[in-house]
């Protein structure tokens, strides 16, 4: 990719600065994250044993929903100020814009996850029985999988009616392999059975991330300029 | 073997419903063509 890193970083820095100043997106997203955890906790009241089996799925579904809320915000601001048209005519390669947006989203969603995880641990009395450090690559790769596709589809759904529902509608089927991998990996790590290993799932997640990051970068220019 | 008949029936029901929607869209288009021709 010929995207000069300078443009990408500048765009990223601008996005973060804007978010920090307005704080509206972050605050509402944080509160939403908290609500999701609480609501999920009402629906299940497992003991510690059971919670290790189901927490993987619950946590990642919660992350997915929080990410969708964050992603819908992403392009809305651009659209409000017609920034998108400015990007289209500028000489900056579309890839830099995409990468900046994706990285920005990744940071925001990670912040959300950092808030949600301790809450889940408390409500579900979670204790990690397997190699806890493996949760780091799982979370990073899993979050990137959701965010990279989410940013791409958020851009796509800009030109559609029912914009807010179109994003999850497009995103969920495509991210199913990533979700399967993260849920399986998280459950394996939580349960900590020495006969099982999350390594395969982590490799699969990495493959998914590489494939779809390339696909998004390759097709983003087309989608941006589609007129 | 109700499941067998249900499966075969469901298959054709699905196909017939789809063909009906295609036919409906076709009739609607024909109506639009007539309107265009009138003008």
């Amino acid at each position: 990719m010929s995207a000069p890193p300078g443009v990408t970083l500048e765009t990223l820095r601008k996005d973060i600065r804007l978010e920090w100043r307005s704080k509206d997106a972050i605050n509402s997203m944080l509160f939403f994250a908290l609500l999701v955890v609480v609501v999920f906790s009402f629906s299940f009241d497992p003991n510690a044993e059971e919670s290790r089996l189901i927490a993987g799925g619950l946590v990642w579904v919660a992350f997915l929903f929080a990410a969708v809320v964050a992603l819908n915000q992403t392009w809305a601001r651009e659209l409000r100020n017609q920034v998108l048209d400015a990007y289209r005519v500028s000489p900056a390669p579309a890839n830099s814009l995409f990468l900046a947006k994706a990285m920005g989203n990744f940071i925001f969603v990670s912040v959300l996850e950092a808030v949600m995880v301790p809450l889940f641990v408390v409500f579900y009395k979670l204790r990690v029985l397997g190699p806890a450090w493996q949760l780091v690559p799982v979370t990073v790769l899993g979050t990137w999988a959701i965010v990279v596709n989410g940013t791409f589809f958020a851009a796509m759904s800009l030109r559609t009616r029912s914009r807010e529902i179109m994003l999850p509608l497009l995103l969920f089927p495509i991210t199913i392999p990533a979700l399967i991998s993260t849920v399986e990996a998280t459950t394996v790590i939580l349960v900590g059975d020495p006969a099982t290993s999350a390594k395969f799932w982590i490799v699969l997640l990495a493959t998914y991330d590489v494939m779809f990051t390339i696909a998004c970068l390759a097709l983003f220019e087309t989608v941006l300029h589609a007129e | 073997m109700n499941f067998l008949y249900a499966a075969y029936g469901a298959t054709w029901a699905i196909h017939i419903v789809y063909l009906i929607t295609v036919f409906q869209r076709y009739s609607e288009l024909n109506r639009e063509v007539d309107e265009l021709n009138k003008k």
Partner: protein, 286 residues
């Protein structure tokens, strides 16, 4: 062409009736499962037809994205030729070198790799020859829609077969989950086409189709490994099949292919007509 349609319609109806007769009467009764097994003669051909249609949609989507620009068009052509040649060479090499042959998964023939590569390239060029850039998009919509119809049949007949035989409506094994994901992706594709404004629709939909095509093998692979860690009921035949059953299966598939062809033809003509009407309406409003 148009006059042939009713005749072909009648012939297909006769063929389908004959295939139904074969499935219900001629095919031998299965030992363990009984008559319910006959669902197989509708379930499997529908699945193969759906996958074929989605495959054509994938090629058509790639073509739409690639052919609008002459340089990418040429690059794509060369990539496909390379794929065909490389896979053939790979087949021969793997068959000849014993250590590589051992490394292959057990139910995969080396020659299948070459055949797959050649079929993909051949299908791409055939579509390219017979469809212009705009027409290829109409082909994409058509195959997606009809593919979803057949895939729905698969997802409905599958559980109806599984329930009496294995006692469960559904399980998360490879084939079921990847078929469901395929269905979901293409339904979202159709919804995207309906809800986006007409200028950018084909490009966005084509991109989604490409994403979907990347996704499906990944889903298949991820759950295949999952299956080897946890035992799952085997869906579909793993071993050899009674030749009479094979005959009935193939006849039903052929009948459904003829049917699918006619349905696609109708839907395609509808799509072309819709575009002409829209163009005429646009011209009139000027």
């Amino acid at each position: 062409m148009r006059k042939a349609f009713p005749i072909l319609g009648v012939l297909t109806a006769i063929f389908l009736s004959y295939a139904l007769y074969l499935a219900l009467v001629v095919a031998p009764r299965e030992q363990t499962m009984g008559d319910v097994q006959r669902i197989f003669y509708y379930h499997v051909p529908s699945a193969w037809t759906a996958f074929l249609l989605f495959f054509i949609n994938f090629l058509a989507s790639v073509q739409y994205l690639v052919r609008r620009n002459p340089s990418t068009d040429k690059v794509a052509n060369w990539i496909l030729i390379t794929v065909a040649v490389v896979t053939c060479i790979a087949s021969v090499v793997i068959a000849l070198v014993p250590s590589l042959k051992e490394a292959m998964p057990k139910d995969v023939e080396p020659s299948a790799i070459g055949t797959t590569g050649v079929i993909i390239a051949a299908a791409y060029f055939v579509i390219r020859k017979f469809f212009s850039v705009e027409a290829v998009d109409a082909l994409a919509v058509t195959t997606a829609e009809v593919g979803v119809v057949f895939c729905t049949v698969v997802l409905v007949t599958g559980p109806l077969w599984a329930r009496p035989v294995w006692g469960i409506w559904w399980t998360w094994d490879v084939r079921l989950t990847s078929t469901l994901v395929l269905w979901l992706i293409y339904v979202s594709y159709l919804i995207l086409r309906r809800y986006s404004s007409s200028g950018q629709t084909p490009v966005m939909a084509a991109s989604l189709a490409v994403f979907g095509a990347l996704d499906v093998p990944l889903v298949y692979f991820s759950i295949w490994i999952f299956r080897t860690q946890h035992p799952q009921p085997v869906v579909g035949g793993g071993g050899s099949i009674d030749p009479r059953m094979l005959h009935v299966l193939l006849m039903n598939w052929l009948a459904f292919l003829c049917f699918a062809y006619l349905v696609c033809w109708s839907r395609y003509r509808l799509e072309i007509m819709k575009r002409e009407v829209e163009e005429a309406q646009a011209l009139q409003s000027l």
